[in-house]
Symmetry: C2
Subunit: 473 residues, 2 copies
């Protein structure tokens, strides 16, 4: 992916004091070379690992470790724990909340060389692989993200609606704890009720409780038939009705229901000179629907009946159905290109909330209204409608601290007031620990602290991330 | 359900020494009456709570508490923790491994009165309810089991194949820890990546880490069209091919793939004099298939094409398709009645394993062979074929300790040697802690002990269950 070049001067990590960790010495490097097959210390080689792909979060690490085996990961962590060297685990580094980027000089533990597929069972569809591999789940970051990062951040994406969350589809995990202990919960069985489901601890804890080294995943069969349709609506009420009708008419073949507003589409159209407006009628709201099924004739029959219904009801005012795979990719591409189109407009303040369906677009309107006193502010809304997951994005030509102060905690408090989630899928990273209490009860945050202290007592794993107010000293 | 009357003399809990817990006094009862709306102490009223529905596990509790609110649960646990009174949480008490039955004189905390549905969202299908309610998941125990027990045991059942595990479909949990702390993780959002996914701790830990008081669950829409077919095969190889073909032809509408051998069917036929053999041809193996879809015409079309394929290939030698809902229930009923038919034959040794597909029926054959020296032993195999989950059941007219010694650890070691799970869905309870190491790595069991010590330091919650070798003293 192309990296936007704006905002090099600013790290979105903010002003987080360095913990009392040891600093990497030459003798540490020498030790790393003795236990790890890939050690990068050349500044040019290390640089890409010190920033995220949007070039928003920046760290100052001097070393990247690229182990190939679980034993190497174990040896590295045991040594770092004994020396009290902080470690940031990093997969494809496609996150949006700074979780995989060093804050200070943490050792970067990259899983990029952990790319062995151990087995694939074509009766059950169960794959066992190392963590540095790609995932049978559809994300904007596909092609770059890694399965270990997907698991540790509980990545959601475009098809969660159909296939559910990784808490359900990951069957087993092998992970290494902070002290180097290897924990083998690499079950390949769909059902395994033998004691606590420890693998769940590592799913979504953003590398703060352990480093995932291997996984087994239940992969759905590739569908024989895929259809994509884009429809336009004149009101958000019509959008909701369009979604409910899709659930009823498309039922078990519905595989994605995505949303974008006109401002999002305009941004993509402006960023790609060869792209034309996909519908003849300009609408304030668009819904992108995907079906995936085993019989093309049945699927098209269902889709036709659905489109006839929503056009007749007037909820949809214009629409198009992709005629082949190329057109389908193109329609989906518009939705996926919003992130890059946004980056091209300047500095982007990214929010990723879950809200009740009736408040899904209200957060965009209220934020626009809240920021109307500022010039040069663009507010767009798009996301995974079927999951209640809104990506609220605000952009200014360059970073503007007054705009930032107007957005936060406004957006988080708005969401909390409706019992939504301040992080639907992007996670907490360094961006949101201070606001975690808005989505998580006090007793639950206490339980998180207790668990962190239990499994990483020296706090070396991905410090400064996820947990609020835990500064090592 | 009718309770079989055999084996009253024997408690399958085995010989577990009582921990150094306090004993319930009159003043404790008086306190319980002051904080809990339902307190049973009459021996006749308490008796049903002291045994499981198969009358296999027996405890000696003198009091049942039936709270109505989370605050009551919290007050009860805080008091029991301070007094060091052991507590066994109990839902519908339909478990098969003794997990919900007292071992000694534990206080029984029954969730039967926690039966309020707090909300249901008909756009998203998300229900929020108290724990003592029924579950939108299909189990043999439906009608009796409760949603809190389903969650705390991670119940699987007949439609896991389609809807996945409860780790994926439970969106939020409110639970009370041993010291009375109420933890509110009752998210109603499909996506919520705000810190550690603590609710997962309570799913499948069998009441040893906390008592679940409320849940939110994503419920699938009721399908418009359901079809059920029963087919017979002459070899297990043909069964496997029949399953693979079902995945290909029925794809997204496949909702259950169940298996039973001829011995299982014979047992049901013998137990119900009015029941006739559902197929004309007697076969050694049967596969029960269910489809659930949104369009009856499409579903029947897919099912016809599938059945034509498996009959033509010769993998299926006879079959029947239910013509209406009544016939469908009847076909499904045969599979579901195996458990009761088994109970009627005498004492039943129940095993519930996950094994790789090619070993799925071999465990039944090998067990039969292993036990051939004993008279009056019946070995049957049935289960959730689509999940690799085999219910291996052995019965003798009365409990026979020599047969038991020949079965355990044979069955567990056989399973472990193939990296299967010694408990696919039934859990560990008091039945399997001693064998947990066969399915769980040593470091993982250590993590379980650490977690138990962290969240229940006085060990009052469901003692003697799940964790190996932790006797309070």
């Amino acid at each position: 992916m192309a990296r936007p070049s704006n905002s090099r001067f600013f790290s979105a990590h903010g002003d987080i004091p360095r913990g009392a960790f040891a600093k990497v010495t030459d003798s540490d490097i020498a030790h790393f070379r003795s236990v790890c097959s890939g050690v990068l210390t050349d500044a040019d080689e290390v640089a890409p690992f010190n920033s995220d792909w949007l070039n928003k979060y920046h760290g100052h690490s001097s070393v990247v470790l690229r182990p190939k085996t679980t034993q190497e990961v174990s040896d590295i962590l045991k040594y770092c724990n004994d020396r009290r060297l902080a470690v940031v685990p990093q997969g494809g580094n496609t996150g949006l909340v700074g979780g995989s980027v060093p804050v200070h000089d943490e050792v970067i533990l990259s899983t990029g060389n952990m790319n062995v597929i151990e087995s694939f069972d074509d009766v059950s569809g169960i794959v066992v692989c190392q963590s540095g591999y790609m995932m049978p789940l559809d994300l904007g970051a596909k092609g770059t993200c890694q399965i270990g990062g997907n698991a540790s951040t509980n990545a959601g994406g475009l098809r969660l609606l159909r296939y559910g969350s990784l808490h359900g589809s990951i069957l087993g995990i092998e992970a290494v704890l902070a002290d180097g202990t290897i924990v083998d919960c690499l079950s390949t069985m769909r059902k395994d009720n033998t004691g606590y489901d420890l693998k769940q601890l590592f799913i979504g804890s953003e590398g703060t409780l352990g480093v995932i080294t291997k996984l087994s995943v239940l992969t759905p069969p590739r569908p024989a038939s895929i259809n994509v349709a884009l429809v336009g609506c004149n009101s958000f009420d019509a959008v909701q009705k369009t979604y409910v009708a899709a659930r009823r008419h498309l039922g078990e073949i519905l595989s994605a229901v995505e949303f974008m507003d006109r401002a999002s589409l305009d941004m993509v159209l402006r960023s790609q000179s060869t792209l034309v407006d996909p519908l003849e009628t300009a609408c304030p709201f668009y819904v992108l629907l995907e079906t995936a099924g085993s019989r093309a004739d049945h699927d098209m029959d269902k889709l036709d009946a659905y489109l006839a219904h929503v056009l007749e009801s007037g909820d949809v005012v214009d629409g198009t159905v992709a005629q082949d795979a190329h057109q389908a990719r193109k329609l989906f591409g518009i939705r996926e290109d919003i992130t890059l189109a946004l980056s091209a407009t300047g500095y982007v303040y990214k929010y990723d909330v879950s809200v009740p369906m009736d408040a899904y677009y209200t957060i965009v309107e209220d934020t626009r209204n809240h920021l109307k006193a500022f010039d040069d502010v663009q507010v767009v809304g798009y996301g995974h409608l079927g999951d209640g997951n809104m990506h609220l994005n605000i952009s200014t030509p360059t970073y503007n601290s007054q705009v930032m102060a107007a957005i936060e905690p406004f957006v988080f408090e708005w969401t909390a007031a409706r019992r939504g989630s301040i992080s639907a899928e992007h996670g907490i990273g360094t961006h949101k620990p201070a606001f975690l209490h808005l989505s998580k009860a006090k007793n639950a945050i206490n339980m998180m602290h207790q668990m962190k202290a239990l499994y990483d007592p020296r706090g070396i794993l991905n410090p400064y991330k996820v947990l609020p107010n835990v500064h090592q000293d």
